[in-house]
Symmetry: C2
Subunit: 207 residues, 2 copies
DNA sequence: CTACGATGGAACACAACCGTTCCGTCTCAA
DNA sequence: TTGAGACGGAACGGTTGTGTTCCATCGTAG
């Protein structure tokens, strides 16, 4: 079948091309299903139904659920991580914490995040994608934020960057990882938390 | 059927009682399935197969998968949280961190933890059970540890306990929540982490 | 204009799971 | 000794999912 049209004069053929709008509708429906049902429970039938397409249209583009989800995850990650750069460590940290608590306030994000984290436990490809797409950009943003502070002399020159990033990310994203119950208006609690983070960062010295 | 044997002289009947060893075998098999497949994918058939019992034996004890898992979770939680009490804050914290990093080193625990966390996003009963069984005991242990330190004067009297518990639990369990990749021998990294936690705790003052 | 090929929709065969129901057997409280 | 009832095992009907295949239709590159 592969060379059915081959011959002395290969006519590369007429038209009919994957419609980009459908490709997009499928991606959107898949994300919605992922949010509603989670990775394990989401079904190709439901995606097709939701997108208003035939299942064939999906399988023409992706071999199965996994590559579809991986692509969605990668695309989501490409939406940049806003990196605060206010000129002072305190305000940068505050921006970082605010962004984290905004994540927590969004149940859709929470579901996808915890869901894929769990799934990554059993799926190495997904784990790699999560690390690349979710963890690394945030750690990188944190690291840049810290380096600037070191340059300004707001943090010790012998800062243990790895440990400091752990602390920054860990404390800022602490609550987003425990989905039990309502996103209390963290605005109240942000200032003391920033204070604590600053104290912790100052203690992250090498050796 | 409920009063088929009722009458003037209700004979409370003969014998045949749920066999405790089977009940236990089922619980064990269910936990194994939960670890291997996760909540969403685990099936009653697989549990029965694994336990070497008929499905009827399971449904005689639990109405469905949910109450079965809830019971298992509750029982696991009853295995006490070891609460270090060494007499100094530093050593208590170190014990706390060690226990957390031991959890991370155990892939079975990691899978169940992340899995049920994700599931809790969609199942309020499970969320409540997780909070009661997983979160509260650890927070309570942390709070007691902190109160002792305050009494000894190792922490300020106006300690914001809630925030401090957040920091302690958050920093100690940071890595256990991101399952990507190998449990690096945290023994190396424990001392600096303890140092950071101590600094953070000291900064958790009220107002 | 033409014909290539993607389209939505439907149906396919196959598998897994659920929760129930039926067996014939065996255990144990009364 | 008796009989209520739990036991393993098997099968049930119904539902849901997967990935494939067929169709008549329609948009479009050549």
């Amino acid at each position: 079948m592969s060379d059915a049209t081959s011959g002395p004069d290969r006519r590369p053929a007429g038209a009919a091309v994957l419609r980009a709008d459908l490709t997009d509708a499928i991606r959107q429906a898949a994300l919605a299903e992922l949010i509603d049902s989670g990775y394990a429970r989401m079904s190709m039938d439901a995606i097709a139904r939701r997108a208003g397409v035939g299942k064939a249209a999906i399988y023409r583009r992706w071999a199965s659920k996994e590559p579809l989800v991986l692509e969605i995850l990668t695309r989501l990650a490409d939406e940049a991580v806003p990196l605060p750069d206010t000129g002072t460590l305190r305000e940068d940290v505050e921006g970082f914490v605010r962004h984290a608590s905004a994540l927590r306030a969004d149940p859709r994000t929470m579901r996808v995040l915890t869901d894929l984290t769990a799934e990554a436990t059993r799926n190495p490809r997904l784990a790699a994608a999560m690390q690349t797409s979710a963890e690394q950009p945030r750690r990188a943003a944190g690291a840049r934020l810290l380096h600037r502070a070191v340059d300004r002399g707001e943090l010790p020159a012998d800062l243990d960057t790895e440990l400091a990033v752990d602390c920054l990310v860990g404390l800022a994203y602490l609550r987003p990882r425990t989905p039990w119950q309502p996103a209390e208006s963290l605005d109240d609690g942000i200032t003391p938390l920033v204070e604590v983070i600053l104290a912790a960062l100052a203690a992250c010295r090498r050796r």
